[in-house]
Subunit: 191 residues, 2 copies
DNA sequence: TACTCTATCTTGACAGTGTCAAGTTTGGAG
DNA sequence: CTCCAAACTTGACACTGTCAAGATAGAGTA
């Protein structure tokens, strides 16, 4: 019989299988046993790599967040100015969740966001997408010669993030359909 | 023995027990069997009132949404103008979820929002809080003599909703703490 | 080579879950 | 008074997360 005791890369295989199950049937459908079965492995095998179900979930979230952050960074690459970058980022942000509505609740639901990221517990402001936003916001201030207090900056940052994040959130509410095309070309960011 | 076959008002009792369990231990902790036990009733009794667990969940969501909408309406009552009403509403909106962070994901997570509301399937824009916002936004335009196209109005509405909803959402992200007090007195609404 | 150690995986078990089928009770309509 | 239908109970099933105990095999050591 083949080697039933050494899968080789079970940890990653479980993450991949988990993502596939969630994509096809939603987060509710994911069970440790199904993920294990998808990897042709016994129901308790995952416990060699994850403490419990939550730990697998967190690993999957990290994987998805990495993809999300990657899309934001790609969107920013082609921008000629900080203003363009911010707009592109906002579009990419909304577009990501508009294309994958299930991911919104999966990423932001239930668990503490910092749990699945390598975030500093002391300074909790280093959520990667927010870091990217802050970076280009500061560049935007510099390029346009705007001078405001750092406190005011923080408020503006939150407002900007809130409007984009809020639009993404609303775009994911399947029950609330507005006469609004989330992917139309329309500058509606930056106060 | 007492009457074990006629609870009297089991349906409402299950909803109340469900809310209590969710408040104390989170949505995850709610099971039909626990809610039934809390009502001193057998594990299958809920099926006389709810088709399945989701139907109980929807009933609970409706109950919470009613409370939320009620708070918004109360906040609006004391306002002297539409502008004041809008600001009060925004504060109440954020305050509600800031005080009950678990409710955010409970209400907006997973299920279709329209499922637990008596919403018209044809016109999906009648989410009660949004209706309230639209009402006072139109009043705001009127009071200030602002004239813009209805299309533009809709975009402004979504933007306003998005910034408030987004702030509420961010306020509920326990892992992402910003140097921002969500309850401070500060006019930051209405574009 | 032979021997052990340890991470990895299996098997078996347990309590808890949602759900259904079938039986029991009871108030109220006829 | 009879009978019905709604409300509830009991019992069962498949499925879940989790743990304990055992099996396996590669890697290192002698």
């Amino acid at each position: 019989m083949a080697d039933r005791y050494h899968h080789g890369n079970l940890r990653q295989a479980l993450i991949d299988a988990g993502i596939k199950i969630i994509n096809e049937n939603g987060e509710e459908a994911l069970s440790l046993r199904k993920a294990a079965a998808a990897c042709d492995v016994s129901h308790a095998a995952p416990y060699a790599h994850f403490k419990d179900k939550d730990e697998l979930l967190e690993a999957i979230k990290k994987s998805v967040t990495d993809k999300f952050t990657g899309e934001l960074e790609t969107a920013v690459k082609g921008a000629g100015s900080a203003d363009e970058a911010l707009i592109a980022m906002g579009r990419a942000y909304i577009s990501f969740f508009s294309r994958n509505p299930d991911y919104y609740m999966f990423l932001f639901g239930k668990q503490n966001i910092s749990a699945h990221l390598q975030m500093n517990k002391e300074n909790k402001e280093d959520y990667p997408p927010f870091l990217l936003l802050r970076k280009f916001y500061k560049l935007h201030l510099k390029e346009n010669g705007i001078k405001i207090s750092s406190e005011e900056q923080e408020i503006e940052l939150i407002k900007t993030w809130a409007i984009v994040h809020g639009m993404a959130s609303i775009a994911c509410m399947k029950g609330v359909k507005t006469s609004f095309d989330w992917n139309d070309p329309d500058a509606r960011l930056i106060t």
